[in-house]
Symmetry: C2
Subunit: 367 residues, 2 copies
C-alpha cells in the first residue's frame, strides 16, 4: 500500500470536529469580518485616516500605552522596536531567548537588515528569569521577553519574577520589550489586565491572528516618541501600505469577538492537557498549561503515531492535530492551540477519543 504523506492531515480535516484553532483559515475569515461593513468607509491612506487611527487609539488604551501603530506583521514591528531602542542607547545588542521568533523564524532579518547582535539568554528549554538577566555579561539596549515562550510549549515566568526582571531592567537602563504574540492568551493565568502586564514593559507587540484569529496584522505600542520613530521605519521596511484596512477591520472584529473568550480557551487547555497526560507515553509541556496552548510530547515514532491518531479520528469523529514533528528517532511532538473549535466539541466525543487513543497506545506498547 502506498504510504500517504498527508494521512494525518487528511484524517484531521475529515473529522467531524477539530479540537484546535478557530476553524479553517479560508477566505470566509475575511468575509465574515466584513459582513457588517457597508463599504462606504474611506480607506486608511499610508497610515492615516479614521479606520487606522481609531483602532490604534483603541489598542493603545487597551494596552495602557501612550501610542500604538498598526503593522502588517510582527516580524516587521519587532525588528523595528529593537532598532529604535538600540539606536537610542547606541549599543547594537539585544538580549532574547534562544528560541525567540527573531532568532529562528525571520531569516536573520535583525542581523541582515539592522546589524543588531543578539545575546541569547537561558537554556533553550527554559524560560528567561530575572537571574539570567542579572548574570548577563554583555551590555544590551533591550531585553525582549516572549510571553508565553511558544517554542517550549508556551511557558511563563511568575508575575513576581517578571516584575523583578522589569525592575532590574529599569535600574540598569535596559529597555524591556514584550513579544506579546499571545498576550491576550496569558491574561487569565496572570489574572491581570493587558495594561497591568504591559506596564512592566517599555514597548509591546501584539498579534491579531493567533488567539484573536484575524487575517494578519500586529500592533506595536509604547511611548509616543518611540511609535513616531516606528512609523518612519515602517515606511523604510515597505510596510506603510496605502491600505491596511483589510487587516485592521478584521483584527478589530475578531478582537471584539474573542478577547473575552481567552479564559474559556485557557480552561479548555488545562482540561485537554489532563486528558493527554492520562494517556500512555504522552506528556504535555507544560504539564498544566498557562494559556490556550501547550505542546504534546509522545514516546512513539512519528509515522507510527500518525497512523494511531488517524485511526482514532476516523473512529471517534474528533481530530486532535493535523501535524506531528519528529523529536529524535522514537519521539514526536505537536503544538496545541485552542480557540472556538474546542468549545464546539461535545464532551462525550472528546472523552471517547481519548479512551480510544489511550487503548491504541497501550496496545502498541504491549506488542
Amino acid at each position: 500500500m502506498l504510504y500517504n504523506k498527508n494521512i494525518l492531515l487528511d484524517a484531521y480535516k475529515n473529522a467531524k470536529y477539530q479540537v484546535t484553532g478557530h476553524g479553517k483559515r479560508d477566505v470566509s475569515v475575511l468575509l465574515d469580518s466584513f459582513s457588517n461593513q457597508s463599504g462606504l468607509e474611506e480607506s486608511d491612506m499610508y497610515g492615516s485616516g479614521h479606520i487606522i487611527d481609531s483602532f490604534q487609539e483603541k489598542m493603545a488604551a487597551y494596552l495602557g500605552k501612550e501610542s500604538a501603530i498598526f503593522f502588517p506583521s510582527g516580524t516587521m514591528a519587532q525588528q523595528i522596536a529593537m532598532r529604535i531602542w538600540c539606536d537610542e542607547k547606541g549599543i547594537q545588542k539585544v538580549a532574547y531567548h534562544p528560541l525567540c521568533h527573531l532568532e529562528i523564524h525571520e531569516e536573520d532579518g535583525l542581523k541582515e537588515l539592522h546589524h543588531i547582535e543578539p545575546v541569547l539568554l537561558s537554556d533553550p528549554n527554559k524560560i528567561i528569569k530575572r537571574d539570567d538577566v542579572v548574570n548577563m555579561k554583555e551590555d544590551v539596549s533591550c531585553l525582549l521577553l516572549e510571553l508565553p515562550q511558544r517554542e517550549i510549549g508556551g511557558q511563563l515566568p511568575s508575575f513576581e519574577d517578571l516584575q523583578a526582571t522589569s525592575d532590574y531592567c529599569r535600574e540598569k537602563g535596559i529597555k524591556l520589550h514584550l513579544d506579546g504574540a499571545r498576550l491576550f492568551e496569558i491574561l487569565p493565568f496572570y489574572n491581570k489586565t493587558a495594561a497591568e502586564v504591559c506596564a512592566l514593559f517599555d514597548s509591546v507587540y501584539v498579534s491579531f491572528y493567533k488567539g484573536i484569529g484575524g487575517v494578519a496584522g500586529a500592533i506595536l505600542a509604547g511611548p509616543k516618541d518611540f511609535t513616531e520613530k516606528s512609523k518612519v521605519w515602517k515606511r523604510r521596511h515597505g510596510g506603510d501600505l496605502i491600505s491596511l484596512y483589510p487587516y485592521i477591520l478584521s483584527a478589530d472584529f475578531y478582537f471584539d469577538q474573542r478577547v473575552e473568550k481567552m479564559e474559556e480557551y485557557y480552561e479548555g487547555a488545562k482540561e485537554l492537557a489532563a486528558l493527554y497526560n492520562a494517556c500512555e507515553g504522552i506528556r504535555t509541556l507544560p504539564i498544566t498549561p498557562v494559556s490556550n496552548m501547550f505542546h504534546v510530547h509522545v514516546q512513539a515514532p512519528k509515522h507510527e503515531m500518525e497512523r494511531i491518531l488517524a485511526d482514532t479520528y476516523a473512529e471517534s469523529g474528533v481530530g486532535l492535530t493535523g501535524h506531528l514533528r519528529e523529536n529524535g528517532e522514537n519521539r514526536c511532538f505537536f503544538e496545541v492551540s485552542l480557540g472556538d473549535n474546542y468549545l464546539a466539541v461535545p464532551n462525550s466525543a472528546l472523552k471517547k477519543t481519548f479512551t480510544l487513543l489511550n487503548k491504541k497506545l497501550k496496545t502498541r506498547t504491549l506488542v
Copy 2:
C-alpha cells in the same frame, strides 16, 4: 469669511462627476472584488498555497518572466531587488533618477536598511536616456528605470532609446530593473505587450493600486534564482505575511477588469490634456501624454486657483482635481491620473467645465 482649507477637495468630492481615478478608495473596493468569492478557498500561508501560486504564475506569464513573487508593497519589492543585484555583483551602488520613488518617498530605506548608495542620473526635470548611462562615471550593480517617470508628469523615453539602454547595460554587466508601477498604463503608447517591454529588463516590479485600482500589493518578477532570493528578503522585511489574499484576490479581480482598458485611459488623457492646454495660463507636462497620467501646470497662485476650480466645479458639476501643489509663489500644479471615472463623464459636461474654467482664467488675467 473663514478660509476653508479643504475648499477644493470638498468641491471636488461634492461634484456630480470626478474626472480622475477609479472612484472612492473606500472599503467597497475590497468588497466588490470579493463579491464572487464563496469564502471556501483556503488562505495562502506564508507565501504558499493556490491563491498566491496561481496569481504569481499568471503574472510571470503576463510579464514574460521566469518567476514572479507577490509583495505587500513596491517599496519592499524594489529595495529587495536592488539588494539582490548589489550582493550578486559585490558593488553596493545603484543608479536611478533623482526623483525616483526610492530617493524621495521611502525615508531612505535603501540607504538605512541596505546601505546601498544611489547614483543620481540626469537632471530632475528630464528622463534618463542611454547617454546618461554611458556617461555615468561610477560602476553600479543595477540601473533602475521608472516608466513612466511619474514625478515629471509621466514621461517616457522612445522605445528605441530604451532598447539601446538595455543593450548597453547588458554589454557592461549592469542589471536593468523596471520600476513598472505604471507599466500597464504605458503599453498602448509603446504599442507593445508587457512581455516585450519587460524583455529589456532583468527584473520588474508592477503595482496593483495605480491604473489597476486594487487595494494594495505588488509583483516582483525575474529569473527564478532572483525571485527565490527575494522570498528570503521578503521574510526579513516582515512582508511574508501569513495571509496576503485580501490583496492578491483584489489585485487579480481588478487586473482582469482593467488591464484591457489602459488604451481608453490613455486616449482620454490625450483628450483631457488638450482641453487643459487650450486654457489661459495652463500647460500640461508632457504636452501630449504617453500614458493615463500627466501634470497640469498653472500660472496662478495656489489659493487663487483653488477658488477658481472650486467655483467651476460648483457650476459645471464636474470635479477636475482635489489637490493643488505650490510651485513657487505664483504657480501651482497638480497630477492627473485617469481611470474608470473619466469614462463616465459626459462629453458635454466636460466641455462646459473647460469653457467655464477658461473664462475664469481669462477674466483673472484681465483684472
